[in-house]
Symmetry: D3
Subunit: 317 residues, 6 copies
């Protein structure tokens, strides 16, 4: 069990606790011996560390991403806190409460999942319903889908974020598909549910959120298409035309090539899916950003990716 969080550590403290080993860099000293620089993390932040002795044995036993039990003293080096590590050894995930290491959605995961299942009941096109059911009846998939974040940073970057994002988008898709005539609602809803499923393998999110090798090499769009293909292989008579249109929703959901979609949206449903994704990710990103800033100030600080300050309103307005 974790005793103290990184946010509470200060110069002079003794550290004897569990962390995620987020980065590990082995370097050579001029005398030919190695030393070790590490970054440790928990859900409250990150902490640098350095280790001078017993380095080779220690380094060989741990990989970045592991839980480690660290023993050492905290000093300040070049203006930053740093643990000078005496001992660091791997720590079995069994001895750890994952919620100490990862932020989580503030909503009820099971409740969200039930609402999603309920909405899928309104899909009346047989082959689309069959495909959705193939996913929802796959326990391994469902377990990952319930816990996966929607991103490493930026929006819904917490356990349960993918489900929260997907559910919100499905609900928006439902509303908007009723607004315009001639929308294939079942196709749009199915595409919305599946558009980001590749993220359950693009990201790793057991102890900290990061891209997986697969994610960095293939991208969640390509991963997701393969997952759909695997399910499709178990469904008879899925119309070729519908298969193409559904995959097109996934392929094009980032809107432009610049944002990673090999093809831009070429159907009204694909155009809508892209905007629904944009709306839900931006609203979540901006609201989380505003929530993390000083409540008394009128403006947020500068948002580097969205390239602006956001207006929060005057305190007594």
């Amino acid at each position: 069990m974790k005793k103290r969080f990184i946010a509470d550590i200060k110069t002079g403290d003794r550290v004897n606790d569990i962390f995620v080993l987020s980065e590990k860099i082995l370097s050579q000293k001029r005398d030919g011996n190695n030393f070790l620089n590490v970054v440790l993390s928990d859900k409250t932040g990150t902490l640098k560390g350095v280790m001078w002795d017993h380095v080779d044995q220690t380094a060989a036993g741990v990989t970045s991403g592991d839980f480690v039990h660290v023993n050492g003293g905290v000093s300040e080096y070049r203006g930053t806190l740093q643990v000078v590590i005496k001992k660091m050894e791997p720590c079995s995930p069994d001895r750890v409460d994952p919620s100490d290491f990862l932020p989580q959605t503030s909503r009820d995961i099971e409740g969200m999942f039930d609402r999603l299942v309920k909405i899928t009941d309104s899909i009346t096109t047989d082959h689309l319903k069959a495909l959705i059911d193939a996913f929802l009846n796959d326990t391994e998939f469902v377990n990952k889908f319930k816990t996966a974040p929607a991103a490493k940073k930026m929006h819904h970057a917490y356990i349960g974020g993918l489900l929260e994002h997907t559910l919100s988008m499905v609900s928006l898709a439902d509303k908007i598909s009723g607004h315009y005539s001639g929308i294939d609602r079942d196709l749009l809803l199915t595409g919305t549910i599946l558009h980001d499923v590749g993220k359950i393998d693009e990201l790793e999110y057991q102890f900290n959120i990061d891209y997986s090798d697969k994610g960095r090499l293939l991208n969640h769009i390509v991963i997701g298409i393969k997952m759909v293909d695997d399910k499709l292989s178990g469904i008879e008579h899925f119309p070729e035309d519908q298969m193409l249109l559904l995959k097109h929703l996934m392929v094009s959901h980032h809107g432009t090539r610049e944002f990673g979609s090999p093809e831009p949206p070429k159907t009204i449903e694909a155009v809508l899916l892209n905007y629904i994704d944009e709306i839900d990710s931006k609203v979540n990103a901006i609201r989380d950003f505003i929530a993390s800033e000083d409540p008394d100030e009128t403006w947020t600080s500068y948002h580097r990716l969205l390239e602006r300050h956001f207006y929060k309103g005057k305190k007594n307005a």
Copy 2:
């Protein structure tokens, strides 16, 4: 009354009919005398014309944008039909049925306007309601607002298009403001209604749709802000803060500087308004484009502005 439309004219025809004089270019022949090139239009298309005699008197009496009564014969010049004009004189708008010259929304304008008014009744913030009422009680504004197109080309480019676009967006804004907590619904709806009001003066749409001098020099965002300021001057105690936020919705509704907004959206409401505008204009543009193409083909031709072909589906699919 118009007798024949441009789409029906062919080489060898005699023309004796009313058109809009869309372009007028006076040039000098080598012998020192002038000749006149014109473009004539009605709601079915455009027709080139040339005039060799009595040019100076004729040119002095008409300006581009006028209705003209044209007399002449149709031949072919450099591969295009061309009227060799014998006589061209201005024609009073009274003698003309404007619907012969401009495309119009397929929806009922009065019905749409009533629905818009009804939605505004649900705005309960006093000063916002007062502002909306100031516009809706201004007969001159309402008359223009009911007839204005939303654009010269691209989307809702027809009489009644601005109202149709605004109503659709308000309805979407209503749905989406209920989806997320903490949205200032009254502000979003007010901003949605007013975001494009400047278009009633940015465009001219009596006989053909084109930009006005004011529109080309100032842009509808700047024109619209002035219209709101004029109405605000008649409303007491409109909160300064609300005035800024409302104008910000107008200023930022194109989303980025590249698309003509001096500032990007800096509130959630402004972010939503930009996406709602994007969705409604793109859906309308794509559907109109698809509707104008061969119903038997699977794909549209290439859309130059959106830079892609759109999928229409197989005929018997």
Copy 3:
């Protein structure tokens, strides 16, 4: 059998011949009846056509992409040749020599294929060799791979072009992988052979070269990945790591997101594959362009996509 090619047709001719129906657009006349605009093509160019009578029966019987037997007379309309079609009916592909309709590589297809097979014999990594063999032993695949063009326009846009492009790239990859130390030659060669396999389904090239529905909706990268996955499912113990790296070569071979790769190259082999593809497609595109221009002039005309004139050299230099 085709009697005369489009390049030889002139005003006043009677036409009674076979063409590909490249475009078909059904429109309504003001009197409520339909008329038909078409574009006909063979390997020498395209020809516009219009049909006024018996339109509905005719239109219902043919789709764009079909061979059609056309009967009519050639006139000039708005500066372009145009067949006024009396009769147009579908024509069975059996009665047609495809080489009348599609340009073809100037090289020997079987010879090129043999050379490619020979190079694959030098791949000594078992699982990669097994994958290549799975493709090369698939007769249906091989037949398409031998005939597919590498693009609709721009480079290697002719029957056999994909094979010619792939063989040239493999030979370059062989040379370059020997130049730098530490390159995984087998992986690079395998990735080079497979990088564009999706093009056999992205394009249609029976009678004219165009994108297929699948190609426009999914893109050849996504299609090719699926083809590799299908072959991989038949190979036991293909290392996961190698599978990711191989697919990464395919995913990233366009070099940047702007050019359609969901991820940029992240291994030296992927970086090299992207440049080898660039070199071979640009050299082919420029040489074909130069070859199509006046041999006596020093410069080509302006190349619209590459945005420059190319220097051909002085005639007697």
Copy 4:
């Protein structure tokens, strides 16, 4: 009265002095109590501060932008100086010499204003002269116009900067309008004088230079147009055409949409105004940058916004 400037403070000092409270961020400790991070500033720089006790009362009494009297001790935290604040309370602006907090033009403000007034005497177009006079006779406007900076950073970012920039541009406009025939000199000069008037409200510059809420939400172009409209409402018979052209100068003076102008320059005068603004702001920005760098070196350091080093010349050259 200020006793010591931030540039002179070092670790171990006691602080008992007046600063501008540039930023104020209230955060929660793990024990549920709040603490306060602040940034203090004067004209010599900025200083971080932290406060642990009596935080809620203190925070409630001050807002960012206020003058504050701070009592505390200076230590070093994570490599930066930091005041640990014992007491911080608002300080009336009356007790403060603003020149301790804001940089100021090195030129004589009254002298510059007189020169500007003198130049306006040469404007002979009645309605333009009337408009300029309406501004120059508005004491509240003139007071702000004399003190406003032209920007937060980059160029003329000091008290009096807007006047200095405007005067320099007017003088350039005078010279250039004589160089080309057919320039409407009076219009160009009037537009030059008014192009940035919105900055007097876009920025706040009482104690430190920052954007106002109005500035961030509306942009100085939109603010300036409103100021001109207000003055125009008091001038009879201002020609509509001239009003559009004058506002167009303001709307388009940033040159392109990317740089914040809703419309690009569409008259020669507008094209010239944009270049005159570019020249004067760049020359000022580069010269101030060069002046702030080591006089002995040949090159400046890298200018982040202009993306280059500037050449200052060899010392003894």
Copy 5:
């Protein structure tokens, strides 16, 4: 001597006159024989031509850029006038009045040159004056410099345009160098005079204006630097530092890499030169464009390169 200009030629005319052979494209007919497509030009425009017989002998005797004597009849092909050429043979430039083929500045070339020389007299830095004199005393250079256009299209694209553009810029540079303190006036004026000298070889402008081989392969910046180096080799003790700064003005005068400058401006003088060039080329381009349009209309047509309509003003305003 030329008898009739292209602007006066119509269908049915016999042509027996001199033209510039602007383009020549030799193609093969299906029967294996060649035919010839050409573009003919004079200062009033261009005219297409085709030749069917005696093609090989004819083609061998003429090159694009030559004067040709053409004999043939004018018909219309695909909507454009076309000469069916019976005979075409080279025509000695001696028999031609060049002013029939190239547009020319409306100003007095000798007068402009005298004014330029006079301004150079005010340059008091010895080595800079020596360099300018080296150019102005080089008769071959001066002859080309007096006739060269400043561009193929866009601005000052006529005989004498380079001199007119340079003189106007020098005069502007003179004015602006007095406006700011600390400008090296002699350096700026020298750089302004020399910045485009490479254009006398980048372009060919004997009979029509086009890029030379040298111009297309090397660019006028690189050509001009070589010309300056050649003159510098004859001047003793030209300070190294001044040589670099002068060449830097030439290298950077396009302002950014995107516009063809290998380095951006890194001195105040270089920044000013870039803006002075921008102002003078844009003002000339826009005024020429406005002058070429219908005087009665309020707006110009759309300017493709500058991407906007320009406002010309109401006729009676």
Copy 6:
């Protein structure tokens, strides 16, 4: 002789050693006296320094780029190590081993040069061989060419890097020129050897690698063209056409204007040279980056210029 390297210095150390004075910034204290901030460097890194006394005499005696002998004590300021300098005086380069200050190629410089000379023996076009010989027989050139780096950062940024890069490219050019028919191998090889010769003067690399004044003002393309022109002036009958094509290879080798080439590649040889340069610089840059990172990790850290992580492979894969 250097005693200790920067990488080995820590807080509390006495420093009495030789460094390169990389930056020198003289600033004024509030009391009117000057102080000095410096950056010191050797091949292991950089170290900040400050000097409070005897500043004016010291500053006058040294310039950035000099070797200096520094005497002082190391402390920590704002989180970074800093030497408080007691004494700093210039140090003659004679007393210094340059290899202590600059990284160097790991290959044998003389061996590489011999291989390059050998390849040039295969160039059989007389005038090209003569030009290459003119360079290779110029001892001053050869000495610089053997030591110059190919860049300040990014790729081959070490002594001997230019030669290593050039040799590798020449070998690639040799291979690729044999792959495609119709390549002018001698021209391509000559252009490859000369494309970057300007870098011997664009950079300074005696004690640390930085841009020279000439390099920053003129760019290595312009410098290199001048070097070729100087050699060409000594070669009789060098064909004009070949001279243009050779210089074009140099002018265009960055591929696009955005990357600093005044003209893009307009011959096949120029297109190839650009890609060969791209391949060799990217492969070197990525391999050096990978080599500098932790060998145990699967991915590199983020590469800021190439904007991605690179895959290094699993340790035991």
